[in-house]
């Protein structure tokens, strides 16, 4: 069942929150052994569903009444372990919940599980989880993408209708594309980061996942909004559901020349072409735009990303919480804990980040990356003077095989080529299911102007309506 159907059926009394949640838990029990989308079930889920029922009986307005959701496991949940897919935090139980979790609970959603992810949200395939990889529901020999691969797989497999992920360089959009669901990353600052374990603070943003645009809007409305606990959060009213009433007629979409020039697989090109012809029929105009600095995006991204990671992950020293491998003194304890607690990709990025911030190298790397970032932003500004939205692939290729890229970090980094620039510029973007390559789903990416996130929903909704949801069907 889709989220808006659940809410309607619960509110009309056709089904109870407990029934919905236990159906979700049954589906999880059935599919989880094949997919490993989740790290931990919430043992309180059924009690929480009962509470939702009581709140409804009291007449509370609950926009997500009884809707089961999963959260990526880097989103802190009070009294429920939050591991970040890492041995370092395997037993970490936060004493507080993230703002987005509070908002979900307030809206009546029930967190049924914490989803698998690449360790500390570093990777593109969910293979870097310390708890084993997640498999793609469309083909269990393939990856679901990453780093929010568990969330995407859970939604694609129908375990839950909604999920939250986090998107530092494409970590919501790319797995959404590879699993055939919608994945949305808002403008930086529209969803609170408080309680979301930081990977790279200036790039991180919570993102939403769903199987329809309407569900995606429903979830996005609930979790967005200003949070005084996050100094980078913005005071903007979310109007995603309202945007679905608007027409896409008259919109201009820019085709990003540089993103089409790199090697995209045939199914991806086909999906882009389909999106264009469907939307043209909806009265949307297409123009070609250029983002010349896009070629620096991946390099700039991995410098900013690793620099911030090296600082954000410094706190895991085995002193106050997390894995502690005692040594003869505090320095040895710190070093041993980090050596055993972090996997190779995390250690690689900490080393890179420490290097690029070191005195003598700062200007050559971090300083230069900041300047590239400013140029990329300026390029986007120019492109948006010609178009309301920009179209690119979400990923140059559909889901790849498990193990295909883990031996070569650089080829894994290239999986982010279409998505990282959006995070550098802080823009909103969505991956829209728009086709298949063989049996594998393919997504296209729509990028919006900063703070104009809702416009992406207008276009996505038009495409979904015109194609009668042909590309976001259930995987299993």
């Amino acid at each position: 069942m889709l989220a808006h159907e659940i809410v309607k059926n619960i509110q009309s009394g056709q089904v109870s929150p407990q029934e919905v949640v236990s159906a979700s838990l049954q589906r999880i029990a059935q599919l989880e052994p094949r997919l490993h989308a989740l790290i931990r079930l919430n043992p309180q889920a059924e009690q929480e569903a009962a509470l939702v029922e009581q709140r409804l009986a009291r007449g509370e307005h609950l926009p997500l009444a009884g809707v089961p959701v999963v959260l990526k496991d880097n989103i802190c949940t009070q009294d429920l372990a939050t591991t970040c897919g890492s041995r370092m935090l395997a037993d970490f139980v936060p004493p507080y919940s993230a703002t987005v979790v509070e908002k979900l609970r307030q809206a009546g959603a029930v967190v049924v599980a914490k989803a698998n992810m690449d360790e500390f949200a570093m990777g593109s395939s969910t293979e870097y989880s310390a708890f084993g990889p997640t498999r793609n529901p469309w083909d269990t020999e393939r990856v679901p993408g990453g780093t929010s691969g568990g969330s995407a797989a859970a939604v694609a497999a129908g375990m839950v209708p909604l999920a939250l992920g986090t998107d530092t360089g494409g970590s919501v959009r790319q797995p959404a594309a590879l699993c055939g669901v919608y994945g949305f990353k808002p403008t930086y600052g529209r969803i609170s980061r408080y309680g979301v374990v930081a990977t790279a603070s200036s790039l991180d943003q919570v993102g939403t996942m769903a199987r329809t645009v309407q569900d995606l809007a429903l979830l996005s409305d609930v979790v967005s909004g200003y949070d005084p606990m996050d100094s980078t959060s913005l005071e903007i009213q979310a109007q995603f559901a309202a945007a679905l009433q608007a027409s896409s007629r008259g919109l201009t979409i820019g085709l990003v020349k540089e993103a089409l020039a790199v090697g995209n697989s045939p199914g991806v090109l086909e999906a882009l072409e389909r999106f264009r012809s469907v939307m043209e029929a909806q009265g949307v105009r297409f123009v070609e735009v250029s983002l010349p600095s896009l070629e620096y995006a991946l390099a700039a991204y991995y410098i900013v990303n690793t620099a911030e990671i090296s600082s954000n992950l410094a706190r895991y020293d085995g002193t106050l919480y997390g894995l502690r491998v005692p040594g003869e003194d505090s320095t040895t304890t710190m070093m041993q804990s980090r050596e055993h607690g972090f996997g190779p990709e995390v250690q690689r990025r900490i080393l890179m980040g420490t290097f690029v911030l070191s005195s003598g190298y700062y200007e050559a790397y971090y300083g230069k990356a900041l300047r590239a970032r400013a140029r990329i932003k300026a390029d986007f500004d120019r492109a948006f003077s010609q178009a309301d939205l920009l179209l690119t692939p979400t990923s140059p290729f559909p889901a790849f095989r498990l193990g295909e890229k883990t031996t070569d970090p650089l080829s894994m980094y290239l999986a982010d080529i279409d998505t990282v620039a959006v995070n550098l510029a802080g823009l909103p973007a969505m991956s829209i299911p728009a086709g298949f390559e063989g049996h594998l789903p393919v997504g296209v990416q729509l990028i919006g102007k900063a703070l104009h996130d809702e416009q992406i929903f207008v276009a996505a909704n038009a495409f979904e309506q015109a194609t009668e949801r042909a590309f976001a069907r259930a995987a299993i």
Partner: protein, 474 residues
């Protein structure tokens, strides 16, 4: 002409007196509370937390900068300073780097300018203790995330005494502004000292840093010792080694904590969790308008009003006495110097003995003004004044006491004559001595007269009468 001179710079940390900590809502007033009771996910540095700047701390930083004649940054930012230490929950300190809240100021110390290089805001670390013999250390995170101001001077100080006065001026300013208790004993103010010695006119010598000096006296003592030590090294033709020193209070000596290693690489970069702060004209104007009168301005005003510079300085740089002085002057018409004398001598003596602030006593400005008036109009004698002071400090009205006890000064020779004659007649031996030239012996006559009159007899009048009676010049 001294052949050597010392070149001294100070780095001062002040704990800000904000309600909450620098980046979270925890109560910043943890002094004396049990360990780890003033903490939250943010100051514990738990995964997922974010800092939010304390606006009051920023305002305190601006006020302090203004008071030190600094330029206030129109645009300021926080950086992360990375280093691993168990009492740093995040293993980076949120501090300021190339865009401090205030910079390029100065402070006058006895007519000489000490330039202020920068004033910046940062968070404090936790406090670790290492119990003797225990295989563990203890960490108290109450202090973690407390707001601090760090102030750095240019190397403009030349003597230990200047350093001491500079620090006490800084304390007065911080207290006057209300931004910090600036109390070294409670750890609310700490100073590090940079010092080098050179032959006058020659380039700067090698400097050493003396860390964690916890009183102004320690700063002066450590500097005295260290300057002497460096002079001796230079005189003997050896070279001073760059080092970080500690100061052994008991021995009165500095000691080497560590010799210069490579410069630590703190990998500063702008904290992405904290957007830059814009200090606009309106905000600045509001803070300037709210600036209280500073000690230097107070000093000038007191001198202008006729207070002797010596007394004016003591009062101006003691915010609690200054406040009381101003309140007293508001209800007093006489010479301000009389009140200044009372505060700096009699009242200060009473307070020092009891380790109290004047505001903690029951003394009111009205009573002090009345007392000063009585004395200035010569309606009570010095002796009566001293007698009355303890009671007035405890809340008694001096006018009432004087009336009830009949303590008004007696200067009327006619009224005093019978008593003076009686005392002279009763002490023939003393009279002989005085007449024989031992003028001091006259005190033995003065005593009984004062006693008999409960101190109300004016000493100069009595002396004059005795002199006339005995034919000497007293």
């Amino acid at each position: 002409m001294p052949d050597f001179e010392a070149v001294v710079g100070l780095e001062v940390h002040l704990h800000l007196k904000t309600k909450s900590k620098m980046f979270c809502g925890c109560d910043a007033d943890y002094f004396g509370d049990p360990p780890n009771t003033h903490t939250c996910p943010v100051c514990l540095g738990l995964p997922g937390v974010l800092p939010v700047v304390n606006a009051q701390a920023v305002e305190y930083g601006i006020l302090f900068g203004l008071a030190l004649n600094c330029q206030i940054a129109p645009w300021t930012q926080f950086h992360r300073k990375s280093y691993y230490y168990p009492d740093m929950p995040k293993n980076y300190q949120i501090s300021q780097y190339d865009l401090p809240i205030a910079a390029h100021g100065y402070l006058e110390v006895e007519g000489q300018r000490v330039r202020i290089k920068r004033v910046h805001l940062e968070e404090d670390a936790a406090k670790s203790t290492h119990p003797e013999g225990a295989p563990y250390s203890l960490i108290d995170l109450n202090r973690a995330g407390s707001p601090l101001i760090e102030m750095v001077t240019e190397p403009d100080i030349r003597t230990p005494e200047q350093a001491r006065i500079f620090l006490s001026h800084i304390r007065s300013i911080a207290q006057t502004l209300g931004v910090s208790d600036a109390n070294p004993e409670e750890g609310k103010m700490r100073a590090d000292v940079n010092v080098s010695v050179r032959r006058v006119g020659e380039p700067l010598g090698t400097k050493v840093e003396i860390k964690n000096l916890n009183s102004f006296r320690s700063v002066a003592r450590a500097l005295e010792y260290e300057i002497r030590r460096q002079q001796e090294i230079l005189r003997s033709g050896r070279r001073v080694e760059q080092a970080t020193l500690g100061f052994d209070e008991a021995a009165g000596k500095t000691y080497v904590m560590r010799l210069k290693e490579g410069e630590a690489d703190y990998r500063y970069f702008p904290d992405p969790d904290l957007p830059p702060i814009v200090v606009d004209e309106a905000w600045l104007a509001r803070l300037k308008a709210a600036m209280p009168e500073l000690p230097a301005q107070k000093y000038a005003r007191y001198v202008e009003a006729g207070v002797r510079p010596y007394d004016a300085e003591i009062l101006a740089y003691n915010p609690s006495l200054a406040r009381f002085f101003d309140q007293t002057l508001a209800c007093y018409r006489g010479n301000p110097q009389t009140v200044a004398n009372l505060l700096n001598a009699d009242v200060a003596g009473y307070l020092n003995e009891r380790q109290m602030e004047v505001q903690e006593t029951a003394l009111t400005p009205e009573h002090l003004a009345a007392l000063a008036g009585l004395f200035e109009r010569r309606e009570i004698t010095n002796r009566v004044l001293s007698q009355l002071l303890p009671e007035v400090m405890e809340g008694a009205d001096p006018l009432k006491l004087v009336e009830e006890r009949g303590l008004r000064a007696v200067a009327d020779e006619g009224a005093l004559r019978p008593l003076v004659e009686r005392v002279v007649a009763a002490n023939p031996k003393v009279v002989e001595q005085v007449k024989g030239g031992n003028l001091k012996a006259a005190n033995a006559l003065l005593g009984p007269i004062m006693k008999e009159t409960k101190g109300t007899a004016k000493a100069d009048v009595v002396k004059k009468m005795l002199g006339e009676m005995l034919g000497v010049e007293l």
